[in-house]
Amino acid sequence: MSWLVVAPILVPFATAIIAFLLRERPLGRWISVAGSALALLAAGLLMAQVLGQGVIAAQMGNWAAPFGITFVADNLSAVMVVITAIAGLAVAIYATAEITPRMEYLGYHTLFQVLLAGVTGAFLTGDIFNLYVWFEVMLIASFGLLILGGRPEQIDGGIKYVTLNLISTVLFLSAIGLLYGMTGTLNMADLAVTVGQVENQGLLTVVAMMFMVAFGVKAAVFPLFFWLPASYHTPAFSVSAVFAGLLTKVGVYALIRVFTLIFDRDIGYTHTVLLWVAGFTMVTGVLGAAAQMDFRKILSFHIVSQIGYMVLGLALFTPLALTGAVFYLVHHIVVKANLFLIAGVVQRLTGSTGLSRIGGLYTHAPLLALLFLVPAFSLAGFPPLSGFWAKFLLIKAALGVEGWFIAFLALAVGLLTIYSMTKIWAEAFWKPHPDGIEPRIAMLGRAERWRLLTPIAGLAALTVTIGLFPEPFVQFAEATAAQLLDPSSYVTAVLGERP
């Protein structure tokens, strides 16, 4: 059974190795697709097991917790692993049509799979130092992907990205050191038990704030987000899609994990800070987006704004709010990755992502326009799409604790999101192309068309499915929130029954 927990990590690693050995042949890219499909299967099996039996833990090398390294799959981990695999598969198919042989030779598929392994590892690990290791794996792979191609603006974005992320990991590592000094353990379940015995609880709050800043940089919350819009519009579209979908969400996941499992003692302080952070993140992100005129830059600022909603769910810290945060995480990964993939097709057809220089897509490529509308409306929170339910749950939770102002803020930000999406719609789709080009989907080759549009259509279908049948998803998110608020099943799964 323990193999079930590690399989979603092992599959991408094995795929990375095989794809590297075959990187000079076209077969290499199909290995990446096949590996991603296999990873999705492994993730699905893990999910089925977690749904059937509750939290499962696996001890690496048979070293008992809390001394060895533990991997744990609870509801939150399992759903994140599944959604990572779905996004990974979509982007792997898309990449077969986008990534040039030169980039493949430089190891695109290998880095991509290592990135997926890193993200999955971060979701599954039950050891806080091991979490740091997975962050490093992700950082190395993502830096490689970011600068692959070597254009000057890529290097420029890459340097900003890596510098800030390195600062964050160093802070993370120092915080781990201090926490270890106080508690003598690194196992997260064991930490949940031992933090209560720390004499100086004030110091614990200081360490909690260090974790908050470290994960805050990763998650791109206010005021630590500026590396994100500086770098996400530069790499290949496949790369920015997987970054946009997954990387910041690892930061949010880490925040949720640590601030429900370990640092849930001084909620009056830490979660109030989180609430302010959430509010500012939502507003600055959406205002930043309003000022942009590039397809991908607008989307990048929207990632920041949406992160605010997820942090809001954590900050309110009620069952309903956490339900909303989990729902939002899943919805957001699907929608955001999809929007970046669409931006790639738009660039293919019209020659640019600068909104003032493109147009005419609505008349000549109505299918693409339809495919754009689904995630764009979902992002803005139109019923009956997935984003509506996500926002609905969060705002209801905010009203439930009489947070009138933050609920108002969340609604206002939703309105401004529509403004940005309308801008993209009006500029890229509605107005005629300034150079008189007629961007038709038929301009793409036959095989290319399938490889680019299938993942987009698949993700859009998922958005619609979540939107039309939200009941099972909400129920699952509720169960997840209950697990997060009462970590006893998590702790028992890792450490065994305690007296």
Binding site: S2, W3, V6, L10, F13, A14, A16, I17, F20, L21, A58, Q59, M60, G61, N62, G107, T110
Partner: protein, 139 residues
């Protein structure tokens, strides 16, 4: 760098470094040492060769591309970690085989742990050389 002293010294030093790196790798099983430090020392040997005689010769001496070495190392470590699946144990559990074990004799122990360590050695060697060669060639 064109220096006859360095070139001559490198011939001996590189060989000693490589042997020492293998010693460190094997010693690491029970004592301080291991695949990581062994890989670093091994890489030093090739880096010295690259500085003295140029990266072209160092690449020729290595025969394989450093990236390929790193990825094969990762593969070896992964396989060594997955062997326990055959015995029904958890990932990365050490499996032991005693070659020539008989009554009263322990035999030569061969373990998956050793292969994992060799994998680490190759990953470190390959990764360091990828970086150093690329930077040397850039200058």
């Amino acid at each position: 760098m064109n220096s006859i002293i360095l070139r001559v010294a490198t011939r001996y030093l590189a060989a000693i470094l490589l042997i020492f790196s293998l010693y460190m790798l094997l010693r690491g099983h029970n004592e301080p040492g291991g695949g990581f430090i062994g890989g670093l020392i091994g890489a030093t040997g090739f880096v010295l060769h690259a500085i003295a005689c140029g990266t072209k010769e160092a690449r020729a001496a290595l025969r394989l591309q450093p990236q390929t070495i790193a990825l094969s190392g990762l593969g070896l470590a992964l396989l060594a970690g997955m062997v326990p699946a055959l015995m029904g144990d958890a990932f990365l559990t050490g499996q032991w085989l005693f070659l020539g074990a008989a009554e009263g004799e322990k035999g030569l122990p061969i373990s998956t742990v050793l292969f994992f360590d060799i994998g680490v050695y190759l990953v470190v060697l390959g990764a360091i050389l990828t970086l150093v060669f690329a930077m040397e060639e850039e200058i």
